[in-house]
């Protein structure tokens, strides 16, 4: 029962569940299509804007917007890595094979984190490329992947998706049901998109501090001073995920399998 053995075991489980591979395929579609749609929408807005607004236009802002939607699918991958076992009834079998539950959770976490971390940058690049192509097609200013700040944002996307994958996994351990964990996970992720529905101070707080909004600061190429810096944003998301993982460990170790 070595960490390496548990890691291999979890990888065999991961690659044989089709729903998770489906979510990853969905993430590719979402990154591409929404990247293009957000780019097109931004171009339309630019063409109708005043000269002052045009001067302030930042083409990188639209480049990674699709990643929040990608996050919904990535978190579902994390959820399913756990809930597929509960649904099939294989969790007791898994625990008899690896009765050190912390180690089992760690192995699952490593597989989820590595997979979702690795898919982040290519998905970000896809969204970035299509959004900038959409801008360029309408003659709107756009940037290339080598421009200052962009490579860091692209790599940062891996950190974002990796953390979101673990976030989903923690929810999976806490709730044990696919439907519940995926709906709650999705709701919490896209909550900042509904911030304008809340009173101003609350909205302001959500946009700044809500973990998924803070985490999305990782892709800010020109962060400005109004919101968190990319590093601080990543810190907020990472801290939230850590708390959820600790809760998952405590619950998973404490309850009957």
């Amino acid at each position: 029962m070595t960490a390496y053995g548990v890691l291999r075991s979890e990888w065999v489980k991961f690659r044989s569940v089709r729903a998770m591979l489906g979510c990853l395929a969905g993430a590719v579609v979402a990154a591409g299509s929404y990247g293009y749609l957000f780019g097109t929408a931004a171009a339309r807005e630019y063409l109708g804007a005043s000269a002052a607004d045009r001067a302030a236009f930042d083409p990188t802002e639209t480049a990674f917007r699709a990643l929040v939607l990608v996050g919904v699918l990535v978190s579902a991958v994390g959820v399913l890595a756990v809930t597929s076992e509960y649904a099939a009834g294989t969790m007791p079998v898994s625990i008899t094979a690896v009765p050190r539950r912390g180690l089992l959770l760690l192995g699952k976490g490593a597989v989820v984190a590595l997979t979702t971390l690795l898919v982040g940058p290519p998905l970000a690049l896809l969204s970035f490329t299509l959004s900038q192509a959409a801008l360029a097609a309408q003659g709107v200013p756009s940037v290339g992947p080598g421009d200052p700040g962009v490579p860091a944002a692209l790599l940062g996307a891996g950190l974002f998706t990796g953390l979101i994958g673990l976030y989903g996994m923690a929810l999976g351990f806490l709730l044990r049901r696919s439907a519940g964990a995926i709906s709650l996970g999705t709701f919490l992720l896209i909550l900042p998109g509904m911030a304008s529905l809340f009173p101003k101070p609350v909205a302001r707080w959500i946009v700044t501090w809500w973990p998924s909004a803070a985490g999305a600061r990782i892709f800010a190429v020109h962060p400005g001073t109004e919101l968190l810096t990319p590093l601080a944003g990543a810190g907020v998301l990472a801290a939230t995920v850590l708390v959820l993982l600790c809760a998952a460990v405590a619950v998973f170790r404490g309850r009957d399998a």
Binding site: V6, S9, S16, E85, A97, P99, D256
Partner: protein, 306 residues
């Protein structure tokens, strides 16, 4: 060797396992018997570290399951044959469990052959029959070639051929010197498979005895008595030290007195007898007598005796 010491599990007010203490020894098949809901599965889950005992302990060779360094090499278990991911191939199912315990692909192929699933190794168990799933579950239990094997209701729902296969397999595992604990609620199956019996009811130990001793105790003579005056006769029989249970068709099944003694007693009190037949109680009878008080959803017995 599995050791249970005052093992207890409560869920709120309900005590599912109540101070169980017994040993399961190597080299024999130990049948773990009890009516549905007696606490057999809970006990096995506690042995495997899946459920936490409220108090007491269950150990394997002196160690708790969770403390075993390579558990599948020490203990193999089948709890629920349906516990397979429908889309993960039989081979991958086994491989995922093997890797965590440092067991390689060759052993996975080997156990698949051992349980007769080599031809369907690459197929998804979603379409497996219960018998095939049961074999896959047994393959999991045998993966680490463990000296201790626990099987929970392994013959439930199997066809006669599958039942015979399990019987032969468990006998041979015990013959190899392994510790085998086999749970069932069917006495008839145990009579053919087990060497030793642990009987529980409502979470409590009822019997911990060799099959031979159980058979001898069960095989004592009984007498079937038929009388229109059962209400008078039954208490008289009890006063004379007999055990009286309702028999078939309103008769009385009497144990502890010979036919002559029953007839004499009836005659002395002027009770008319319609029938007086010596009967050998079956194993099933003995088992039902033992667990009669502990059946979870008992149907009320015919009112004759009460």
């Amino acid at each position: 060797m599995i050791e249970l010491r005052q093992l207890t599990r409560r869920y709120g007010e309900v005590t599912v396992v109540d101070g169980l203490s017994f040993d399961v020894r190597p080299g024999v098949v130990t049948g773990f018997l009890g009516p549905n809901g007696a606490g057999k599965t809970s006990t096995m889950r506690m042995i495997l570290g899946l459920d936490r005992p409220t108090s007491g302990s269950a150990t394997i060779g002196g160690r708790r399951y969770a403390d075993l360094p390579v558990p599948l090499r020490e203990v193999g278990a089948l709890l629920d044959a349906h516990a397979v991911h429908p889309r993960r191939t039989a081979f991958d199912h086994l491989l995922s469990l093997a890797y965590g315990n440092g067991i390689g692909r060759r052993r996975v192929e080997e156990v698949l052959g051992l349980v007769g699933l080599a031809d369907v190794a690459g197929r998804r168990p979603g379409g497996f029959s219960l018998g095939m799933k049961q074999r896959l579950g047994i393959a999991v239990a045998l993966l680490g070639d463990p000296p201790v094997v626990l099987l929970d209701e392994p013959v439930n729902g199997l066809d006669p051929e599958g039942i015979r296969w399990i019987r032969t397999l468990t006998r041979s595992l015990a013959a190899e010197g392994r510790t085998v604990l086999l749970s069932s609620h069917l006495m008839s199956e145990m009579a053919l498979t087990a060497d030793h019996l642990v009987v529980i009811g409502r979470g409590r130990l009822i019997a911990d005895t060799g099959l031979e001793a159980f058979v001898q105790a069960a095989a004592r003579q009984g007498v079937l008595v038929r009388t229109p005056d059962a209400r008078r006769l039954a208490p008289l029989l009890r006063e004379s030290g007999a055990t009286v249970r309702p028999g078939v068709d309103g008769g009385l099944m009497v144990t502890g007195l010979s036919g002559a003694e029953v007839g004499g007693l009836a005659g002395a009190h002027g009770i008319v007898l319609h029938e007086l037949t010596p009967r050998r109680a079956s194993l099933e009878d003995a088992y039902l007598e033992l667990t009669g008080d502990s059946v979870e959803f008992a149907t009320s017995a015919a009112g004759v005796v009460s």
